[in-house]
Amino acid sequence: MLKRLKETVKNPSVKISEAKFPAPFVSGLEYGAPARGTWNIVHVGMLIPQAHQIFVCAQGCLRGVVLTAAEMGASDRFSTIAVRENNVLDGDMEELILDGISDILKRLPKQPPAVLLYTSCIHHFMGSDLNYVYQVLREKYPQIQFTDCYMNPIMRKSGMTPDQTMRRQLYSLLKQKENKEKKVHLAGCDFRLDVNSELYQYLIQNDYEVCEIASCKTYEEYEQLAKAGWCITTFPAAKAAGEYLEKEYGQQHLYLPASFEYETIDKNLQFLQEKLELNIELDDLNVKKAACEEVLKKTKEFIGSTEITIDFTAFPFVLSLAKLLLSHGFCVTKLYVDSFLGEEREIFDWLKEHAPNLEIYPTVHASMRVISRSSDQKILAIGQKAAYFSGTDYFVNIVEGGGFWGYESIIHLANLMCDAYTYPKDRKSLIQIKGMGCGNCV
C-alpha cells in the first residue's frame, strides 16, 4: 500500500474571510479527482442529432474522447485521425485532414447530415490553414455540413474556454431563418429545462413555443432551432452561445442566470415579462417564495445541524446556493471551488461578512490528492466532488444544475437533499460515470 501523507501535508483550504476574489488559490500542479459527471466536448457535441464527430489529434488526446464516445454508446458517430510526429515535421496537416476525412466518409455506412471536425492545440500552434480545409470539404461534400470545433485545452486560460466555444459551435450549423416565430430557444445547456420551472411555465402559459437542443431527436428538429425569435441562456458558460445566436441569427438574447437568490430570480422574471410582454401575475412569485421558505424550513428540521459541503460542479452559482442554505440555518462548512464567478462578487462579500469561517477548498491543488477524505460525522454533500472529498455516501448526485431554474430549483434541491440525507448512494460507482445523463455502458 502507498503511504498516506495526510498527516504531514498542509491543508490547502482558506477561510472565505481570507480568500481572494475571484481566484482564491495560486495555480500549481493539478490533480484530477475521480468525479467525472460533468460533460466534456464530446458529450456536448453529441447533442446535435445524427451529426458525426471527427477528431484530429495526437494519440494521447484521442484516447479520452474516443472512449467518452464509446462509454456513451456512440462509437458509430465518432471517428478519429491520428496526428503523428511526421505530420508535425512535414507540415502536411491539411492533407492529413482532407485525406482522413475522405477515407472516413467513404467507409461510413451512411453519410451524416453534418460533421463536427475537432482540431487541436497542434493545429493552433502550427498555423494550419483550416479555412482551406473547410473550403475544400464544403466543395467536395455539398450535401454534408461541416463545422469547426476545437479540442484546444491550451486555450483554457486565454479568452473563451474550450467549453464555452463548444457550446457556441453547437449552433454554427443552423441556417438563417427570416420568419421569426413566437418561439424561445433555451440555449447552451446540456439538460432540458425543468418543465415545472417558472421560466418554462410562464413561457408556455403565454403561448410561446419553447425549444432546446437537448430535446431535438433529428437533424431536422435541430435546424428548426433557428426559427426562434428569442434565446435565453442561464449560466455563464452558455452566454457566448446566446450572443452568437443573437448576432448570427437575430435571436434576441436574454441572460437569466440560474441563481438561488430570490432577488435575482424576481429580477430575471420581471425582465422576461418586460421583454417578451408576458402576462405574469407577479403576486404568484410571493406564493413561490412562501413555498420555498416552507420546504427549506422542513428540510432544515429534517437535516438538522448535519455538516453540508458543496462543490462547483453541482451548480454553477455555488456561492448563491451557499448563501441560501446558510441564511436558512443550514450548517454549510466547506465549498469545493477553484475560482469564483465574477457575477457572484456581492454574494462573496456577503459570505465574508456573515459566514467568515466557511472553508474554501480547491479541487485541483496537488495536496488534495493526499488530504484526508473521511469524517467521523455524517456529512451531506451537494455534488460529486464534494462527496468524494468529504468521503460521504450521502450526497446529491447532480451536475451543472441538472436543468433546474428559479424557485422550483430551490424546492427541487431541498427534496433532493432530504432524499440524499436518508438514502446512501454507491459513491464510487456513481461519481465515476462520465457525462451524467448521457447514457453509460460501463
Binding site: L2, G28, R63, D103, S120, I154, K157, C441
Partner: protein
C-alpha cells in the same frame, strides 16, 4: 497511411505508460500538458486511481507559457509540490505541445534535482506513441538510475518480472497468479516491475526490491514494456532475460524451463515462436499476444498470427507478428482470418465470417470491459474451451 479510425478505439499513449509504470513506487509524476492527458489517464488508463493514492499531476501548460518557451512555471510548481509531498523521485513526461516547443526535459529534470536533491527523470514522450513507449522509458530509467549496486544473488533461483502494468494485465490478480505459478516451479520472484503493492507489500518494499534487482538470476519480460530495462540490466549486471508471458499451465512450464536454462547458460531466450500461416489472428501487444498464441499452440496444436497494434521492438516482429496500427493496416489481415481474438472494440472492423473471441485489453478499451478481462494465467484452459478454441 490515412491514420484513421472510423469506429475503433486508440491505445493508451506514452505519457500514460510512464504514469502507469511509476504509479506504485512512491514517486511523483508530472505530465507537462495543458489539460486532458490527466483526465484521460485517470479515467481510462488507471484502474488504481480511486482506491490507491499516487502523486500523478498535470502541469497545466498555458498558451502563453508555450509561446514564450517558459519552463520556469513547470520547474517552480514541481519543486513546490515536491517540497510539500516529499516523493521518493520525480518523473516528468511530455505531450504534443512540449514536443513542438522543444522542451528539454532532461535539463528541466536536472534543475529540479539540483534544487530539491530528489532524483528526477525527464522523459521525452509526446503523446504520439503508445503506452509501450512511455512505460519502456520509465522502466529503462529505473534500471539506469535506481538499480545502482551489484547485489549478491539470492540463494534460490529468482527472477524479476519486467513489464507489469495494469494497461496489459489489469488488476484482476493475473500478476499474483504468475508469481504463484513460477513459485510452483521453484522459481522465486524478486521484484515485479512495477505493480502489486497491497496489504502485504508496501511501496517502500516494492521500490527496494526494484532497486536491488541485480540480486535476481534472470529477468522475465512479460510485455514489451520491460524489454529495454532487461537489456540495460543485462549490460549492467549480466542478467540474462527470457521473453514470454506466463499463460496457462503448459506454456508457463516452458517459460520456467527457459528461465532455468538462462540461469545456467547466461543466454537470453525468447520463448515465443511465431505462426505466420495460422488462420487464427490475435490483435494486441507483441509479447502477451505471442505468448497467448504459443500457449494456444501448446494446448491445442494450433497457433495464431499476431497483429501488433502498438509500438514494438524490431526483434519481436516477424512474419507471424506483424505491426499493424490503424484500421487500413489491420483490415486486410483480418479479412482472411477464420478466428479473431481481440478486444471487443475491434469487432466492428472484423469480417462477420470470422469467429470473434473477446479478449478485453485495458490499454485499448479502458474500463469498459474491465470486469470481463480473463485471468489468463489461471483460467487459460477454461477461456479457450469457452471460446471453442480447443476443438
Amino acid at each position: 497511411m490515412k491514420q484513421t479510425a472510423t469506429i475503433i478505439s486508440t491505445y493508451a499513449a506514452d505519457i500514460s505508460g510512464i504514469c502507469s509504470a511509476m504509479y506504485e513506487l512512491g514517486g511523483m509524476t508530472v505530465m507537462h500538458d495543458a489539460s486532458g492527458c490527466n483526465s484521460t489517464y485517470n479515467t481510462h488508463d488507471e484502474p488504481r486511481w480511486y482506491d490507491m493514492d499516487s502523486l500523478v499531476f498535470l502541469s497545466g501548460l498555458t498558451e502563453t507559457e508555450a509561446i514564450l518557451g517558459d519552463d520556469d512555471k513547470l520547474i517552480r510548481d514541481t519543486i513546490e509540490a515536491a517540497r510539500e509531498l516529499k516523493p521518493r523521485f520525480i518523473t516528468l513526461g511530455g505531450t504534443p505541445i512540449p514536443m513542438m516547443t522543444g522542451t528539454d526535459f532532461r535539463a528541466v529534470a536536472l534543475q529540479i534535482e539540483r534544487e530539491t536533491g530528489i532524483p528526477t527523470f525527464g522523459l521525452n514522450t509526446d503523446g504520439m506513441h503508445s503506452y509501450i513507449s512511455g512505460a519502456s522509458k520509465a522502466f529503462a530509467v529505473l534500471a539506469e538510475r535506481i538499480c545502482k549496486d551489484r547485489i549478491p544473488k539470492t540463494k534460490e533461483l529468482s527472477v524479476n518480472i519486467l513489464g507489469a502494468t495494469p494497461l496489459d494485465f489489469s488488476i484482476n490478480g493475473t500478476i499474483q497468479a504468475m508469481e504463484k505459478a513460477l513459485n510452483s516451479h521453484n522459481i522465486q520472484v524478486h521484484a515485479i516491475w512495477a505493480m502489486g503493492t497491497g496489504p502485504d507489500e508496501t511501496a517502500d518494499n516494492l521500490f527496494y526490491k526494484i532497486a536491488t534487482s541485480s540480486a535476481a538470476h534472470v529477468n522475465l519480460v512479460i510485455s514489451s514494456c520491460g524489454l529495454k530495462a532487461a537489456k540495460i540490466l543485462q549490460q549492467k549486471f549480466q542478467i540474462p532475460y527470457v521473453i514470454g508471458t506466463p499463460c496457462g499451465s503448459k506454456f508457463t512450464e516452458k517459460i520456467a524451463e527457459s528461465i532455468k536454462d538462462a540461469a545456467v547458460t547466461g543466454k537470453n531466450k525468447n520463448v515465443c515462436e511465431s505462426f505466420p500461416k495460422a488462420n487464427t489472428v490475435i490483435i494486441g501487444e507483441s509479447v502477451t499476444a505471442l505468448s497467448f498464441a504459443n500457449a494456444l499452440y501448446t494446448e491445442t496444436g494450433n497457433g495464431a498470427k499476431v497483429l501488433c497494434a502498438v509500438d514494438s521492438e524490431e526483434e519481436l516482429l516477424s512474419e507471424g507478428c506483424l505491426e499493424a496500427c490503424d484500421e487500413a493496416e489491420l483490415i486486410p489481415h483480418l479479412n482472411g482470418a477464420k478466428i479473431i481474438i481481440a478486444d471487443p472494440m475491434y469487432r466492428p472492423i472484423c469480417p462477420k465470417t470470422a469467429h470473434f473471441i473477446e479478449l478485453p485489453h485495458e490499454a485499448f478499451s479502458g474500463r469498459i470491459y474491465r470486469n470481463q478481462i480473463p485471468r489468463l494465467m489461471e483460467d487459460f484452459e477454461t477461456y479457450i474451451e469457452k471460446g471453442g478454441l480447443n476443438v
